[in-house]
Amino acid sequence: MEIDPVTNGNADAIMTESAPTITPPTTTPVPSSRLSQLTESLKLEHQLLRVPFEHYKKTIRTNHRFFEKEVSSVVSGVGDLADSDWSRDDTVARLSSLVSRLQGLKRKLEEGSNVENLQAQRCRARIDHLESADVENLTEWNNTKLKRILDLVDIDIFREAKKVIDALKNREVASALTWCADNKTRLKKSKSKFEFQLRLQEFIELVRAESYNQAILYGRKHVAPWGATHMKELQHVVATLAFKSTTECTKYKGLFELRQWDVLVHQFKQEFCKLYGMTMEPLLNIYLQAGLSALKTPYGFEEGCTKEDPLSQESFRKLALPLPYSKQHHSKLVCYISKELMDTENPPQVLPNGYVYSTKALKEMAEKNEGKVTCPRTGLVCNYTDLVKAYIS
């Protein structure tokens, strides 16, 4: 009796009857197109890296501002002490309080740097996650990616946004204004006029309530400073003082519409996404759209379309309906039987009835059936020798 040498590597071969005696582990070289494809798709991950970084940056800035303020107030405390005429006991008391203030500051410093380090680790972990993607583990990596697209990994940032949006929907601008103040320098840098629009809305609300005096006071304080850059809009809105909220004058009617609040919500979302380097549309929708378009073929909508094609599913068809079809420049033939690509390695062969299958699949079928092949779609039986080749360029 023969004993096949068996190694760990091909344990599975034993389980199948027609197993070859030994199959050396073959490592086919990764085609370069796959690698460049992977590199290209990693470039889509801007948001994944940007969002935690903006968070990190914000923490650093806030911490820095706080420590700067504290330290300079201690310094001026020392200065004041030296410049005034305190008794010895008072001096001791004041110096002690400065010392304990610094003690507290040291604790805060430690906490602050811990938070910063944690956020840095988070940013770094995401970079490592990108780096870990390679052609070998792509399926798994893509799965993780999908889960993070569905998961909203940066959930706490969205919470911050939701608070402001909810308030705006209740027609309150306070939390939106706080948000503007928190991000003042950056909004200014990007020439955002979101705060101006919030101010205008508050002004309009005062006019709506017919509190004209208050409106004027408010306007002087909060709206006028924007005059230098947004005079035209300012004039348009301030002119509402002459109208009632029920005005039919088309030029001003729109300003009183409650729809303006939705506009503010939309604008907030836009500003918010810009600040964190995020896209407005949900990531899932962006990927779904691109994927559906690239997969959309007339065949996907046909009866009996293969289940592997997502477009065989009713729900995916529905989403794909308004999207463009894919475009192909080259023929790509997939064997109906084996689902393998028909190329020069595995060329297409034509049955007498014009149906085309891959050489591999037909050969295998012929070997099992004494040289006969059966067309799986029409039932036609013929000899393997009756097949002719087709050249597809």
């Binding site: 389980m15 290209e40 991950e45 380090n117 893509n142 759209q289 997939v334 597809i392």
Partner: protein, 382 residues
């Protein structure tokens, strides 16, 4: 690879952040040391009577020292370098990565209900029943039918992963005909695993009986090997059959069962959502490149019926045969099917009609010297 550029840039930021932190700490420490020193000196009991104004001079010394340390400047200097790194990093990100992937987005609202259903089935298909249930209740969607069908599969798989073959064998036995039709040897694989399990419990005789009963003769070679392995039972790891101990046998069985189960269910073993999003990852880069070049085409983008550029997806996304006529470069359609010339070359019907003046004359194949009679051309079905 670009990731390295990003990583280096980030490491610079992190380094400067740590540096700035320790600089701040150092400054605060020093400041507090000086103040404490002055405080101690003032509190020194011996100095009490000698000079009643000593505390004043000590405080003004302290002021001088503090001015020399210039803590605020120290902090600022440390932060300045950090600031440079902080503003540089987003630029590196924008340069190496696509900063706005929504550029290739067509402004159509997806039906939310449909998207929710797709997401819920994804979770169920992955065996994440808790998350799926949670998602369904949060979005207020009706319960998905996918849940029940996937539940059975996951119970079988869960048992199989615990190396409990019972449920899997039961399922395979009751679907034996269908598995055979699908050309699957899953049942045999499961029986073999069971055989090995019995054998590993050092019950060689039981194993033989089991094999006699369940492992059919047609799998002769498989049977031979299983039986031979009994000769080494107890020290299989040092035998030619050490492979039988490999855990990959089990993972392969799990994979095959998933495949067959989904197949019988009429579902794809790959989640359609995963497939679509993975295809999206491949399609977005070329689409974004196109959109960046064609800034003024945004309007057309919203209405075009076919993507403006070919998007090459890799093989696993090729579900259908596509024939593009090498002459007209157009995709074949029902009214313009691919035809095989007698030389074996394939063109679309339109091209043949044009070259043969609607069949009135023979023509030369554009790819070889053959003379072609249009009436001899045959339609192909891929």
């Amino acid at each position: 690879m670009e990731v390295k550029t990003v990583k280096d840039a980030f490491d610079r930021v992190a380094k400067k952040q740590k540096l700035s932190c320790s600089k701040t700490q150092e400054t605060v420490d020093r400041l507090s040391r000086e103040i404490e020193k002055a405080l101690n000196a003032i509190q020194e009991p011996t100095t009490d009577t000698d000079n009643p104004l000593l505390h004043k001079s000590l405080v003004s010394d302290l002021k001088k020292t503090v001015q020399e340390i210039a803590p605020s400047n120290q902090l600022e200097a440390a932060h300045k370098e950090l600031n440079v790194a902080l503003s540089k990093y987003p630029k590196v990100l924008e340069k190496t990565l696509n900063s706005d992937i929504s550029k290739a987005y067509r402004n159509v609202e997806f039906d939310l209900h449909t998207v929710h259903q797709i997401i819920a089935s994804f979770f169920y298909g992955q065996g994440l029943f808790d998350i799926g249930d949670c998602f369904i209740s949060e979005t207020g969607e009706p319960e998905s039918s996918a849940r029940e069908s996937f539940m059975e599969m996951y119970l079988i798989l869960k048992a199989l992963k615990r190396r409990d073959l019972g449920p899997a064998l039961n399922w395979a036995a009751s679907n034996s005909d269908k598995l055979e039709q699908a050309n699957s040897d899953l049942e045999m694989k499961l029986h073999s695993l069971h055989f090995l399990k019995i054998a590993q419990d050092k019950k060689s005789l039981d194993a033989v009986n089991y094999a006699r009963k369940h492992i059919p003769i047609y799998s002769d070679r498989g049977l031979q090997k299983l039986m031979c392995s009994l000769l080494w039972n107890g020290n299989l790891d040092k035998s030619p059959y050490a492979g039988f101990l490999s855990p990959t046998l089990w993972t392969k069985a799990v994979k095959e069962l998933t495949r067959q189960y989904c197949n019988l269910l009429g579902e794809s073993p790959e989640s359609p959502l995963s497939v679509t999003v993975a295809a999206g990852s491949q399609a977005l880069p070329p689409l974004l490149k196109y959109m960046n070049l064609m800034v003024n085409k945004k309007q057309e983008w919203q209405t075009m019926e076919q993507l403006p550029i070919p998007v090459e997806l890799s093989e696993e996304f090729q579900f259908h045969s596509v024939f593009v006529c090498p002459v007209t470069k157009e995709q074949s359609r029902e009214d313009n099917p691919p035809m095989r010339l007698c030389c074996g070359h394939v063109l679309c019907k339109q091209s043949i009609n044009r070259m043969s003046k609607n069949g009135s004359k023979s023509f030369k194949c554009p790819y070889c010297p053959s003379d072609i009679d249009a009436s001899q051309c045959r339609q192909l079905y891929f």
